[in-house]
């Protein structure tokens, strides 16, 4: 009998209201419903989350690791892109 692997799903968990969903791992599942259920059972056993996203891993388009030099190195010497050079009034906190 042919054995087919279930597709892989990437799991993203929001740890509490207001925070972003963060990638925390992956599960194998034949459909989204079961992927959510498995993600709940595997990744939220210790109160890690209040919300789960699952995304089929083959639906994620990733940048090419070999293209790192042209993709990311040019940003290296553009330090002025950080907003740290502006003088802010005291009333503006937490920038």
């Amino acid at each position: 009998m042919e054995r087919k692997e279930w597709p892989l799903w990437e799991v993203f968990i929001r740890s509490k209201g207001g925070l972003d969903h963060k990638h925390c791992g992956s599960v194998h599942a034949p459909d989204a419903k079961m992927a959510l259920s498995s993600a709940r059972d595997v990744y939220t056993r210790r109160m890690e989350g209040v919300s789960i996203w699952v995304v089929r891993a083959d639906q994620i388009h990733a940048s090419d690791p070999d293209a790192k030099p042209e993709m990311f190195d040019p940003a290296e010497d553009k330090i002025y892109r950080h907003p740290t050079f502006y003088t802010l009034p005291d009333e503006v906190n937490h920038m």
Binding site: K33, S37, D41
Partner: protein, 257 residues
């Protein structure tokens, strides 16, 4: 008056033990899946369910120990009783067989627990009502998870459908015990402690039969067969289960870690 009060207290204790022991014994059965699940995700899911049930059993057995008033705690009740003193439903002690039958039993049992916890939320026993409030959320998830698998496998391949139908034919007669009338049921209902099993039958069927239909499974006809685990008369499987479950406490009395 004293005799009546004593009888009522005994029924109250018996009623709580039935709920506690059913959770304990099914928890023990499900724990057998640990490390043996068909995929790691489901291995963890079944173990989570087992831990939920054992958690419920701990709260209920602790409560039962207080009701009994003989100084027995959760461990003494869980590990040091003899087989006829366990009041668990027979369906809980039946062997897992395969993953499909395990999920189907979870579905049938969780649907029963849902009805029970719902009714117990208004119990005159405040502790029992509080445990019900916590446990119903767990049962809701167990039911969802088990129903999904019942449908997936029942309405799956020829092989999985056949296994699920055989599992249903095997398990169905044991569900009659959920609802069989006993003196304990009658007294618990009269005292407002909780529902008699018989009062939950219709709602249980309404929640379970549609799932079985979607799973393309044929619901067997009711037969006169009636198991009596909740009255302490267990199947041949119970002794083996208890031998394994009790071994550590029997071999090393009072052992902790």
């Amino acid at each position: 008056m004293t005799t009546t009060a004593t009888a009522a207290d005994a029924a109250h204790l018996d009623y709580v033990l039935r709920i506690a022991d059913s959770a304990l014994i099914l928890g023990q059965r499900l724990a057998e899946w640990c490390g043996h699940g068909p995929v790691i995700e489901e291995d963890i899911a079944l173990t989570n369910t087992a831990l939920d049930l054992i958690g419920q059993a701990r709260l209920l057995l602790t409560h039962a120990g207080h009701l009994e008033g003989k100084g027995r705690g959760e461990d003494a009740l869980a590990f040091l009783r003899a087989e006829p003193e366990y009041r668990s439903l027979t369906i809980c002690e039946l062997p897992n067989e395969d993953f499909g039958r395990t999920c189907l039993r979870n579905c049938l049992f969780a649907a029963f627990q849902m009805q029970l916890w719902q009714a117990l939320a208004s119990s005159s026993d405040a502790q029992l009502a509080a445990i019900a409030g916590k446990s119903i959320k767990e049962a809701r998830y167990h039911l969802q998870h088990a129903s999904d698998w019942t449908v997936r496998l029942g309405d799956g391949t020829e092989e999985s459908h056949g296994r699920m139908q055989r599992a249903l034919d095997y398990l169905w007669p044991y569900t009659a015990e959920f609802f069989s009338p006993t003196a304990t049921d009658q007294q618990a209902e009269a005292a407002g402690i909780g529902p008699a099993g018989s009062s939950l039958a219709a709602a249980w069927e309404e929640s379970v039969v549609p799932v079985l239909e979607v799973a393309t499974l044929k619901v067997p006809a009711r037969t006169p067969f009636l198991s009596r685990g909740k009255e302490g008369r267990h199947s041949e499987h119970m002794g083996h289960l208890l031998a394994e479950m009790q071994y550590l406490q029997r071999a090393h009395p009072g052992g902790t870690w």
